[in-house]
Symmetry: D2
Subunit: 109 residues, 4 copies
């Protein structure tokens, strides 16, 4: 089994991955898409690193901590972008991003 | 939000991904590793396609159904390999694989 | 070493992945982004499955043929979308997609 | 188009990804597999981060440099493991890993 200390952080990564994937797909349908381009890009970056970090922890990768440290930075950037928009999917995504950034920082420390 | 019909299948994919990642990592530490090579290989194939399928559903991909159909086949193959071994991680993994195969088949039909 | 019959198809997948990644990034900066949403989405789907297919062939996956069959379908869809746009990155991407679709179909047959 | 300074580093990542995928698959068939477990694990870590880094550069990700910095560390670790083995796939893989580590360090600096 993977390190039990990772459990909460894996959960945070999987929730953030889902929120970012949902936000990405919803942004592509927004009327004001011209304002959503950074959000679309960062949603993809963030969903992909969260997925990568979850895999690293679930497989007890020797690089899990460094990967989570990077994941925290990307989550932070995505959260800061998402919280600037009023769409419900962005607000939710920002919350998940900040929660995941916090969990990844703790895990990596 | 993603298609609510996908919810159960996404959950099954994420659980199978975790079980396969855990089984992969545990197999690499088994003493009888010479007998675990197919299991190691299929665990990786299965964890990776489950992750891919979850992303497809969470982003409402137009190819979600075809991806889940392929995921069902790979889960089935991984489950059949895992159930031949008595390690607890293999037994658990086989169960998750068969559950996920079923969920993916239903989703794709 | 991987199956030498795969060599050309791996190359086509890696070129298509690059063309789709470049087109995705360029589309996000286009002024007429409202018309590029399907292109953005399909570029990501296509880049990701091409990467997945290349890995499958390079590791001699028992599922390489099924994965390439799916890859051909996604490349075809991405190519058809891209060829409708006059941006140079879209034109180039469409060419790479159709070439990769062809290589994947041959490989899977 | 992506930043042309990235071109050489992308190439190094794609070559390293291929070498690691080939080495992973070949290690799983070696008779002395009990000695290859670290190699199998690191091949997967390294192939996956190289793929991730190539995508980051090809899409002009704002995190491309941090991702390449992490990629350099993982390539270095994989190269050090691979160079301890005499299998031809390991020797070749070690060379690709060290070349990629160097390219990623330069790119990130």
């Amino acid at each position: 089994m993977f390190n039990q200390q990772y459990k909460e952080c894996i959960q945070a990564c999987l929730e953030c991955m889902e929120a970012c994937n949902v936000c990405y797909s919803a942004c592509l349908k927004e009327e004001n898409i011209g304002m959503m381009t950074n959000c679309i890009r960062l949603d993809r970056e963030c969903a992909d690193i969260c997925s990568f970090a979850a895999k690293a922890m679930q497989t007890n990768s020797p690089f899990a901590e460094q990967i989570c440290k990077l994941c925290a930075e990307i989550c932070e950037a995505c959260g800061k972008e998402c919280e600037q928009h009023e769409h419900e999917h962005c607000t939710k995504c920002a919350e998940s991003c900040f929660r995941c950034a916090e969990a990844c920082r703790e895990m990596a420390s």
